[in-house]
């Protein structure tokens, strides 16, 4: 397999291969998908490590994310700057974690960050309420939402501080085989 591509240096490709779950071909394919979102912004030559970040609106227009109720949080969690604009690094990172080859505890870690809306490293009741609303498209009344959140915290909170920490969340995930 010849190194005919000129987009990345071999060291860059090696680094990407080591840090994500993708093969060389898949990394190149993902690069082209990234570039297709905005061909005029993304250069074809990444050997000089250009600092290009695609805006949030373009990222969430991708068919994989378009209908996901959590697309805003996903973009925010994976982008370096926290505002949803993603560089190629963030893009590859996001797809690596969401791919089927990533282990469950890695996905659980990022799922926790996605559900943590206020970024305080805890899923408190307001985070849960926002999650429930996104999951059910505002079809439940506020009392029902509140009741459901109370039950969740009651069941999963192991250290009884009224909110879920990462350990509580991972403890729960281990026992749920349907988690994707």
């Amino acid at each position: 397999m010849g190194n005919k591509q000129t987009i990345f240096t071999p060291e860059q490709l090696d680094a990407y291969q080591d840090c994500t779950f993708f093969t060389r071909k898949e990394i190149l394919r993902l690069f082209f998908r990234y570039r297709d979102l905005a061909p005029q912004l993304v250069p074809l030559d990444y050997t000089s490590k250009p600092n290009v970040a695609l805006p949030y609106e373009l990222i969430v227009s991708m068919p994989e994310l378009k209908d996901n109720p959590f697309r805003q949080r996903i973009a925010e969690v994976f982008s370096e700057s926290g505002d949803g604009n993603m560089t190629l690094d963030d893009f590859l990172d996001m797809f690596s974690v969401l791919s089927e080859m990533a282990p469950r505890d890695l996905k659980a870690y990022y799922a926790f960050k996605i559900y943590d809306f206020n970024n305080d490293d805890y899923i408190c009741k307001s985070d849960l309420e926002k999650t429930v609303n996104k999951l059910t498209r505002n079809e439940l009344t506020p009392e029902e939402v509140s009741l459901a959140c109370d039950k969740v915290i009651y069941e999963a909170d192991l250290d009884n501080d009224g909110k879920l920490s990462l350990e509580d969340f991972q403890h729960m995930i281990i026992r749920a085989p349907d988690f994707l």
Binding site: D93, Y110, V132, P177
Partner: protein, 524 residues
């Protein structure tokens, strides 16, 4: 102080990573929950440490470490190339992703199961073809019978003298006069089939063990509203309609759960409870009675079938077509009795919707197991004791007919069950709506077909090849039917656990039953 701790932790991390082997190090990098930029920094630090250490280790070992390093690099490149090759062999990957995106993981589990069974058949076909059929071609006898189109359906006539059936395979040891090697056909036959089943057994056993470990060991007792909320979102879905449907389901489920909490447990009076128990007993009696009646019918028909075959002239087209009656009737029974069972289930009004699914699946399973059991009994006792010159070929023909008719009925079922139902549901009787894809029944049909194939391997070595083609066709037909006609399932279907359950079903009644059949056959 915080910055000091941060750097100290990073030094420890780098130190740990340097001490791992290259393979473990890459795995550790992939699993690190950090951003890409941080990972690259850590990786550069680790690589710098490693080159420092290797330089410090002295130059007198230069030659052999160089060779070793080059060997390792080329081995790694070779392994990557091989991995990419295998990835290309992963057929249908894109179709499966599309199905998962439109319909969710539960329907996807059916198609993954189908693909898994297909792999079994491909493996069996390759082994049988390579070890048994190819040597047979060398010692083949010419075929004098004529070929009419009906043979494709009945499997008799012309096909009787081909490699399709056991009876054709020579008993002797094939030997080429030029080379001194000889190929013992008998041993080859028994060993090939035996090895295949042993390998199947092992594969199934390990898959089930892995599956149970992953899905059942840590099962929590308090079946988790928390997990229902936070873990059931299926991130695979990409279709907008499916997403809306899933959201509506989730909200309905949450509403139901909350309502259940508030409602007090229904206390039935004594008479009501007795009535309910009586209804349960009656429906179980009805379902078991139906199964017994079906078995008796099948047995009677099959004995009739054998008489017809022995009496009638073998070349008579009509009598050959009449031999198709048994498989058709069996498939009809298999197709219509489950409707009766689901009607019974609806009538019973069980409290828990999940137990309704389990009860229906249990009843269907009992029906199918008893039908296969009766057929095996008929084949092994009645046919084997008959006076025809090769009873194994007769059984092979019978199984061929069964497999073929089952395949045809599967296609017909898809046509009627889904296509026509959709047309009826959208034009004539709009309240019925679009049909859902019935996962439980479809998987049981697959297991039934695979059991028939496994029973037939000893009598007709090329049967897995036929089943392979039929599974491939069924995959495409079901996929098209799914996309055009069905909607995503409404009730929650715990895909991971049900898949384990189905694999277990494949293992225990199916494979174990087939092995006992083989044992009895070989003993005879």
């Amino acid at each position: 102080i915080w910055i000091y701790h941060y750097f100290y932790a990073e030094e420890k991390l780098v130190g740990n990573l340097v001490s791992l082997s290259k393979h473990d190090r890459i795995k550790a990098f992939q699993k690190m929950p950090e951003s890409m930029r941080r990972k690259r920094e850590i990786r550069n630090k680790v690589l710098r440490e490693i080159t420092k250490k290797s330089k410090g280790r002295g130059i007198h070992c230069g030659c052999c470490t160089q060779c070793l390093r080059r060997a390792k690099v080329s081995l790694r490149r070779f392994r990557n190339g091989l991995a990419e090759c295998f990835h290309r062999l992963n057929f249908w990957h894109k179709i499966l992703k599309v199905i998962g995106g439109e319909f969710g993981t539960s329907v996807l589990s059916y198609f993954i199961f189908l693909k898994w069974l297909l792999n079994f058949n491909i493996f069996s076909f390759l082994i049988n073809f390579g070890f048994i059929t190819v040597p047979q071609f060398v010692a083949a006898e010419p075929n004098n019978l004529s070929f009419t189109g009906l043979e494709l359906l009945t499997g008799a006539g012309y096909f009787q003298q081909t490699v399709l059936y056991y009876g054709f395979y020579t008993n002797a040891t094939i030997s080429k006069t030029k080379i001194d090697a000889s190929y013992n056909m008998q041993l080859a036959y028994i060993f090939t089939v035996g090895m295949y089943f042993v390998i199947c057994l092992l594969i199934l056993f390990f898959s089930i063990a892995k599956s149970i470990c992953r899905n059942f060991i840590n099962l929590q007792v308090y079946s988790g509203n928390a997990s229902k909320l936070l873990c059931t979102w299926d991130f695979n879905i990409t279709n907008e309609k499916a997403v809306k449907l899933k959201q509506r389901n989730l909200s309905t489920q949450i509403k139901e759960d909350l309502a259940e909490e508030n409602k007090e447990a229904l206390n039935f009076s004594l008479t009501e409870r007795i009535v309910r128990i009586l209804i349960h007993l009656a429906s179980w009696a009805a379902s078991l009675g139906t199964a017994v009646a079906a078995c008796a019918g099948v047995y009677f028909l099959s004995v009739n079938n054998l008489e017809l075959f022995m009496k009638g002239h073998k070349k008579d087209l009509e009598s050959q077509a009449a031999m198709l009656v048994l498989p058709v009737i069996t498939s009809l029974l298999n197709a219509f009795i489950p409707f009766f069972y689901s009607w019974l289930g609806n009538m019973e009004k069980l409290q828990n919707p999940k137990s309704k699914i389990y009860v229906t699946i249990a009843r269907n399973l009992i029906l199918k197991i008893s039908i296969i059991g009766i057929l095996c009994y008929y084949w092994l006792t009645v046919v084997a004791a008959s006076e025809s010159q090769c009873w194994e070929t007769l059984i092979g023909q019978d199984i061929y007919r069964f497999v073929l008719v089952d395949f045809i009925f599967c296609l017909l079922g898809s046509f009627f069950g889904e296509f026509l139902r959709r047309i009826i549901g959208t034009t004539v009787c709009v309240s019925l709506g679009v049909p859902e894809f019935d996962i439980g029944r479809s998987v049981l049909d697959l297991i039934y077909a695979q059991t028939l194939t496994w029973i037939g391997i000893l009598f007709s070595p090329l049967l897995p090849g036929i089943q392979m083609v039929s599974f491939a066709i069924v995959f495409y037909v079901k996929k098209v039917s799914l996309m055009q006609n069905c909607q995503p399932p409404r009730k929650a279907w715990r895909a991971a656990q049900m898949t384990t359950f189905f694999m277990f079903l494949l293992f225990f009644p199916s494979l174990a039953g087939v092995l006992s059949v083989i044992a009895v056959t070989v003993w005879r």
